[in-house]
Amino acid sequence: MTAPEIEIIVDGEPLRVAAGTTLAVALLNAGVRAFRTSASGAPRAPLCGMGTCYECRVTVDHVVGRRACLVPCVPGMVVHTADGDD
């Protein structure tokens, strides 16, 4: 099964992803390492993959702290990760 592709914006760059993909998968497949930066400044990325651990928090359409593992990608979505802070 091949899902149609859509485009989202990640840290200012366009990214083509399969429609229906969760944001966590899209970002991991795109090689994003640091979804967020921890309280002491370390890179963090998804752990539980099911909404419990809050490690995959990113900013989506200016809303901070959204769990990437629970957010489906939609066309034009603007995403900011800690990788984009460099």
Binding site: A39, V63, V64, G65
Partner: protein, 378 residues
């Protein structure tokens, strides 16, 4: 500590720990007892502001003096205490409140407390996330914020360094002349002492039933980290009306930036006994007011909502001084919502009383004996 301590401090909240530290530094042998663990009661439930309040001349004197003592400690406090000086910003919603700000500034200035009136434009520069249309503010730049449980623990550690001993999980079941009854894991024991300081907050009346201290419930909510959302502790002027009516239920806008970047949202006041349950209506109103003053707050996540009990007195002043009914018993309780601020000043008043030296500020307004006269009106 010998078999007979000079002073037993009952309660290891911020007030008890501050008293223990001050007494131990005077060379007295101090035993601190707490029914659970240090800083775990009202101290853990509050906001942790070090703020000058001016409801009465006595409150102004005690809070200004106490804030000065905290400022002197600033360099010593460990990071875990999260001591910062964001200042307080009192907000005037409408033009009619601007004269009140001016009067408040004058009162503060006379007490040696620096304060400045901001007009609408200056207020906007100071706090860009506040809603448009506020008339102005009064900034009190030297007000502080800290993390109370760890402040209490630091105070207790300091007391220990000066020889004090602390017993946790120890309940005081009776207080008599120079003697207390303690219930610990091993059973009940009587302990002789030179003096007893009752710093048990809302639990003080369980030991001295005549103390007019009632638990006044408050709700707080804390958000996820959002650095820069607000820079000062923000309080609406209307807070004073809310804070001082001892009856009924009220909410007032009160925000505080925590060292972590989180925002602490208050405040509410209810007299409902010891019912600690969350009142959804009150939280809803408290959050509604917060968003009304600072609209971008709506997008932050609330991580936790909790309640706590302020030890309130009929005249809104703490009870600090000897308890005339039982020789050797001292009271340091009833600090309502200002206990973190006034803990340092309270400790100095207690030290002066116990050591028979001149108090640093007039102690008369705080004398517990005042509550034994004709009943006070709210």
């Amino acid at each position: 500590m010998g078999a007979r301590p000079d002073v037993i401090v009952v309660g290891a909240g911020i007030v008890g720990c501050a008293c223990a530290r001050a007494l131990a530094r005077e060379g007295l042998e101090v035993l601190v007892v707490d029914a659970s663990f240090p800083g775990g009661g009202t101290t853990a439930a509050g906001m942790g502001h070090i703020v000058v309040m001016d409801d009465s001349p006595a409150e102004l004197a005690l809070s200004a003096y106490s804030r000065g003592l905290w400022a002197e400690l600033a360099d010593e406090l460990p990071r875990s205490v999260e001591d910062r000086r964001p200042g307080t910003l009192w907000l005037a919603a409408g033009a009619d409140e601007m004269p009140i700000l001016g009067q408040k500034r004058d009162l503060y200035q006379r007490a040696g407390v620096h304060a400045e009136v901001l007009d609408a434009t200056a207020l906007r520069d100071a706090e860009p996330n506040l809603r448009l249309g506020l008339a102005g503010g009064l900034v009190v730049p030297d007000d502080r914020v800290l993390y109370p449980p760890n402040a209490a623990r630091w105070m207790l550690d300091e007391a220990r360094r000066c020889g004090a001993v602390a017993w946790r999980d120890t309940r005081v079941v009776g207080v008599a002349e120079r003697r207390v009854m303690l219930a610990r894991a091993g059973g009940v024991q009587a302990l002789d002492t030179g003096a007893v300081v009752i710093a048990a907050g809302i639990d003080a009346p369980t030991l001295i039933p005549e103390l007019p201290i009632v638990p006044r419930k408050g709700h707080l909510a804390i958000t996820d980290r959002a650095p820069g959302m607000c820079r000062h502790q923000l309080v609406e002027l209307g807070y004073l009306h809310s804070a001082h009516a001892l009856t009924g239920e009220s909410t007032a806008f009160n925000l505080q930036p925590r060292a972590t970047g989180q925002v602490l949202i208050g405040s509410s006041r209810q007299l409902v006994g010891r019912d600690a349950s969350i009142t959804p209506r009150v939280v809803g109103e408290m959050l509604r007011r917060a968003v009304e003053f600072m609209p971008p707050l709506a997008s932050l996540s609330v991580l936790r909502i909790w309640t706590g009990f302020r030890p309130a007195t009929p005249d809104s002043l703490p009870l600090i001084g000897p308890w005339p009914e039982i020789p050797g018993v001292w009271i340091a309780a009833g600090h309502e919502g200002l206990g973190i601020t006034t803990a340092t000043g309270t400790a100095e008043l207690i030290v002066a009383g116990i050591t028979g030296t001149t108090p640093p500020i007039d102690a008369a307004p705080f004398a517990p004996s005042r509550t034994m006269a004709a009943p006070l009106t709210a």
